[in-house]
């Protein structure tokens, strides 16, 4: 119940700060672009839009949100209430998941895109948003300013996005299978490309493992630097 209340509060915060308006405009623009593109380019374009913008929105915004809350001493007040740290983090993650999934599904509906592998695709979109938000939270825990957050997170963000080179067929290496983004790119691409079942299962397993690793890392960092700062 506390988690639900915290999540609703986070969604209201995002709404008040214009996230939903910004993504409503972007969603409409992406639908228009996808509808104007020739048939062969629609699925790759959808994958790239989701991978570079919609699923990464948590990564983009989370640094500023945590900084604002810390600047207003909100986190100190929050942690003397019954709200637990994992509930605080889950509320943040789930609220971004809601916006990203809503935007992704609206783009699909608006551009009349679908297919038999829809469940794999939805799993990919949800877990991509999840992984990127967790990744942002790792850096948000210690950032001092918004620019500081971007300095620290951008290099690492670009590094984990390297499998995009394999997606656009410029460079490939088996090492990319260690990256969570290889898995997200496969699952986001299933509507337009036939992947073997083993590849899809591998992607799901990879994302679940990365979720556990990043989730516990984020928890430890927030426990150390936000909940009990020195």
């Amino acid at each position: 119940m506390r988690l639900l209340a915290a999540m609703v509060q986070d969604i209201r915060f995002q709404f008040r700060h214009g996230f939903y308006y910004a993504y409503a405009i972007l969603t409409i623009l992406y639908i228009i672009v996808l509808r104007l593109l020739p048939g062969t380019m629609v699925y790759p374009a959808l994958t790239l839009i989701l991978f570079t913008d919609i699923c990464t929105l948590g990564f983009f915004f989370i640094g500023a949100i945590v900084l604002l809350e810390r600047g207003q001493n909100l986190t100190e007040s929050l942690f003397i209430t019954p709200l637990r740290l994992h509930e605080y983090l889950l509320a943040k993650i789930l609220s971004f998941l809601f916006l990203a999934t809503l935007s992704a599904l609206l783009i699909m509906l608006g551009a009349s895109i679908g297919g038999k592998d829809l469940m794999w695709f939805v799993f990919g979109a949800v877990f991509s948003a999840l992984i990127y938000t967790l990744f942002g939270l790792i850096f948000a825990a210690r950032a001092r300013h918004v620019n500081d957050y971007f300095v620290k997170s951008l290099g690492a963000g670009l590094l984990i996005s390297l499998p995009i080179l394999a997606y656009v067929r410029l460079f490939d290496t088996p090492l990319f299978y260690l990256f969570p983004t290889r898995a997200t790119l496969i699952l986001l691409d299933v509507l337009g490309t036939d992947y073997a079942l083993s590849e899809k299962l591998f992607s799901v397993a990879s994302l679940l493992i990365w979720f556990l690793i990043l989730g516990s890392w984020v928890y430890q960092r927030f426990n150390k630097y936000v909940r009990h700062p020195a």
Binding site: H17, F61, G71, H145, N147
Partner: protein
């Protein structure tokens, strides 16, 4: 005696070095410059691997990418202002001899100078297109004004840095004017003439064609940039 501007500049320099903002401020524009530097090799790679010839789109790529550093500088200085506003720094400065107007002038001049400098460096260091130096200076002036517009857009309509990020997403839409000018073969593309980058794209095309319309682009483009800048400036000062 040190002028307030010198004190502010020294403070900013300390801030950017300490917070590694300088890394961010230079990383993006330098990455774009490097990307354009390697563009001929990338074009060959794309042609070989994907059987797609990007050479006919070179002018579009150069004009689009040469504006990205300006957008990045606008965002960086916008977030510095928003951070300082969240920490009430602007309120403190407003009671110093520099006053709020002096603070804002300084914070707008920096992204303008950096954007124009990087623009000229990209155009002449990469030498991917031949641009008349007078046209280049005219376009660089618009690029500089555009950086100030971007910074002001973020700080005028955002209450804090979180809203600033949401607005930075919306700001990116302004650059859609460039593909519209290049690829929308219809008079309807003039609908986007109120967007400042529209005129930069037009100026690039007319300069390359050797058309006399370049002077119209530079004149009307500067007028549109100044009008948008003044609107945001007045709104910002009214809201403070």
């Amino acid at each position: 005696m040190k002028t307030p501007i010198a004190v502010l500049a020294r403070g900013d320099l300390k801030l950017v070095v300490r917070d590694s903002t300088l890394v961010l401020a230079l990383f993006g524009p330098l990455a774009i410059t490097l990307l354009l530097w390697c563009l001929p090799e990338i074009e060959i790679l794309i042609r070989d691997r994907l059987s797609f010839d990007t050479a006919p789109y070179r002018l579009f790529i150069v004009s689009f990418l040469s504006l990205i550093p300006g957008m990045l500088f606008a965002m960086i200085y916008g977030f510095i202002i928003l951070d300082e506003r969240d920490e009430d720094v602007i309120d403190f400065i407003s009671i110093t001899p520099l006053r709020k107007e002096g603070y804002l002038t300084y914070k707008l001049i920096m992204p303008m100078l950096l954007s124009a400098g990087f623009f000229l460096m990209i155009i002449y260091a990469t030498a991917l297109i031949q641009l008349n130096p007078i046209h280049a200076i005219g376009i660089a002036s618009m690029v500089a004004l555009e950086a100030a517009i971007g910074t002001l857009f973020l700080v005028t309509f955002s209450e804090n840095k979180v809203e600033g990020l949401a607005f930075s997403k919306v700001m990116g839409i302004m650059y859609l004017a460039i593909p519209l000018v290049f690829f929308w073969n219809s008079g309807w593309h003039w609908l986007s003439a109120f967007l400042p980058p529209f005129w930069i794209a037009k100026a690039f095309i007319h300069s390359q064609m050797g058309s006399i319309w370049i002077w119209g682009d530079l004149f009307f483009g500067t007028a549109v940039h100044l009008a948008v800048l003044l609107y945001f400036l007045r709104t910002f000062l009214r809201r403070q």
